[in-house]
């Protein structure tokens, strides 16, 4: 039950039909999109849009994967995204350093409080992060005078120039998201911390008996989730040159959906970051395809995303059940 190093790596590498669903569907959807819409879908500009749109979600979903693998859930990310954006714009009056440090520190502090209440005070993650969702949104509105003040980030700031830059034809947020994702992958798959995350999600009691620092790991996954969300918020603010307290509503659900579609079990202990990457891209490509169909309104995005989530999980359950026999 408790994973040793070799077990974790085989768990990652072994062919698992119930986890390969998202990449396979992603390839099919990409081919289908190209055949149906041709250049309007497969053009460089459109793919860049999808990549930019996916980058913020990838950051959030990377943190969410750690949390869900450890057997928890983080509902506060949508509100933290807004709070980070607002704080970036608010802090920009003192320069780029403050504009980046302030939101990251505040978000990490939120993650720390979440983690302490969950890991030490043993309150249900669902409830703690639900309260953080309310609190962070309240704080985001308080910082922007109930939404009446929109702080603007000056165009000549270093942050703006980096945030809106493109390298090798790919926008800065995409690079940041890929680097964070890569570091996350290393952290999850090649370190003791990553093993502990898998082990705790598998069985908290067994992990405690083994002498692993359960509480510390549980606290750290929430700090990680909040900090990555903070990073996404900073990047959105830099990209749009402003911080709006209203953004990010429902983002927590989108992130959870991406993680689950990627094959990570909500009960914890099993899953992968590569699956999450596929899940994020799949959600965003499908949303983009729906936009390509001129006759469908944006509301169909929600209908398809929700239905898709249910169908994917149903298929996973079916496959997992067959594998067990």
């Amino acid at each position: 039950m408790v994973a040793t190093r070799t077990e974790v790596s085989t768990r990652e590498r072994r062919w698992r039909p119930d986890r390969a669903g998202a990449p396979i569907v992603l390839v099919l959807v990409l081919i289908g999109g190209t055949v149906l819409f041709g250049d309007s879908f497969a053009s460089g500009q459109n793919l860049r849009n999808i990549a930019l749109d996916s980058s913020y979600l990838l950051l959030i979903a990377t943190g969410m994967t750690f949390v869900i693998l450890s057997g928890g859930i983080d509902l506060s990310v949508g509100s933290l995204l807004a709070l980070a954006g607002v704080l970036t714009a608010y802090g920009a009056q003192w320069g780029s350093l403050v504009a980046v440090a302030l939101p990251l520190l505040v978000c990490a502090a939120f993650g720390l409080v979440n983690g302490l209440l969950i890991g030490r005070a043993m309150i249900a993650p669902f409830i703690v992060t639900l309260a953080a969702l309310l609190f962070a949104r309240g704080l985001a509105f308080a910082v922007s005078s109930e939404g009446n003040t929109v702080h603007i980030i000056p165009a000549d700031l270093l942050l703006t120039r980096i945030g809106q830059a493109s390298w090798l034809g790919v926008q800065a947020p995409v690079w940041f998201a890929l680097v964070a994702f890569g570091l996350g992958w290393v952290l999850l798959n090649l370190t003791r911390f990553g093993q502990a995350v898998f082990a705790i999600g598998g069985s908290q009691e067994a992990t405690e008996l083994m002498g692993l620092p359960v509480a510390r790991v549980r606290i750290l996954v929430y700090v990680l989730s909040a900090a990555l969300t903070g990073m996404a918020g900073v990047l959105i603010a830099a990209q749009t040159s402003s911080g709006l307290p209203t953004i990010g509503e429902g983002r927590e659900l989108e992130a959870i959906a991406a993680v689950v579609i990627g094959g990570t079990l909500l009960s914890g202990g099993a899953g992968s970051l590569s699956g999450t990457l596929a899940g994020v891209l799949l959600l965003k490509v499908i949303q983009n395809l729906i936009n390509q169909v001129g006759t469908l309104t944006a509301y169909y995005q929600q209908v398809v995303s929700g239905t898709f989530l249910i169908v994917v999980v149903l298929v996973q359950l079916r496959l997992a059940r067959r594998r067990r026999r």
Binding site: M122, G138, E146, A257, T297, Q301, G306, I310, L314
Partner: protein, 319 residues
């Protein structure tokens, strides 16, 4: 459980008392505070306004309490309200009662889908109802083409804005539903099965209880109650607003249930506590607004109260 409690130091007796009576004490404290400091608080108009505002949340929260007692969660209640609101104006042409029946049936259908996914397909409640949260609100907006529609219908207007013996119909309905839910949980076989299922599903299955049927029933009830709340809200506003009706109400409902003393771990439920939980959160919002504090402060205070309430309940296996 009992062994643990006797072994604990006496301080926990205070905690145990707060667990049971905390929500009532908090309501009493807030009432006294408002009576002293808030001008025009104890007027019939104000009290009626507070009750009318809390009624839909209370109705949804009762359904949520039943779902949580079954060790589940229903995130789709707000989306269900939106579907109800979107369907009402579409079918008004066939007569108001047809429209009402169809919109309630839609709530029942959402509950049936939730319940089937959870009971028969073995999906986790949070995922199944999350799917319907996203898809349901989208569907409502597709039905309504994303528009707000004003509704001029005497029956709906009566339903939303009239009172019987001075008590608004929606408040009356919320009270009737609370009493019915209380009786159902504590006096019927369904209630026993519900609590047994939520407390220990494996044991309930082994004991031969119709666990799956009970689970489906509980989500259908939650869907129906959410549809009722959507109907009342739409009737009171005189407009169908599928973008905003019931937005985030799942959070308010869960908060009301938890603050009211129902543990998230299932197997136990406090119906009256849930009603009081909804009332407490409404009182907090009202107090904050009437003291001229901003809305953002209200959210932060509510968040702190949620954590405090659940922290106090930990000893009862609420985690």
């Amino acid at each position: 459980m009992t062994d643990l409690r006797t072994a604990l130091p006496p301080r926990t007796e205070v905690v145990a008392f707060l667990q049971v009576a905390g929500v009532y004490l908090a309501i009493a404290a807030l009432l006294v505070f408002n009576l002293v400091f808030t001008p025009n608080f104890a007027t019939v108009t104000n009290l009626r306004l507070q009750l009318v505002q809390v009624a839909p949340v209370a109705i949804v929260a009762i359904g949520m309490a039943l779902v949580i007692a079954s060790e589940g969660i229903d995130l789709s209640v707000g989306a269900t309200m939106a579907i109800t609101a979107a369907l009402l104006p579409l079918y008004l042409g066939y007569g108001v009662w047809v429209a009402i029946v169809i919109s309630l049936a839609a709530g029942l259908l959402v509950g049936l889908v939730n319940g089937s996914l959870i009971a028969f397909a073995g999906m986790q409640p949070i995922i199944a109802t999350l799917g319907l949260l996203v898809a349901g609100r989208g569907l409502a907006l597709v039905f309504a083409e994303g528009r707000l529609t004003e509704i001029f219908d005497p029956t709906l207007n009566t339903l939303g804005n009239s009172a019987v013996l001075g008590v608004p119909i929606s408040v009356l309905l919320a009270l009737v539903i609370t009493v019915a839910a209380g009786v159902a949980v504590h006096r019927t076989a369904f209630g026993r099965r519900l609590l047994a299922t939520g407390g220990n599903r494996a044991a309930a299955t082994l004991a031969g209880l119709p666990v799956k049927r009970t689970l489906v029933t509980v989500y259908v009830l939650s869907g129906l109650l959410a549809a009722t709340a959507g109907l009342l809200t739409t009737a009171r506003q005189g407009a169908s607003d599928p973008s905003f009706v019931g937005l985030l109400i799942e959070l308010s409902a869960i908060t009301a249930v938890v603050v009211g003393g129902t543990p998230l771990s299932g197997g136990r439920v406090r119906i009256l506590g849930t009603l009081m939980g909804a009332l407490l959160m409404q009182l907090i919002t009202a107090t904050v607004i009437q003291q001229n504090l901003p809305d953002s402060a209200a959210r932060m205070i509510q968040a702190s109260i949620i954590v405090a309430a659940v922290y106090l309940q930990r000893g009862r296996g609420a985690s």
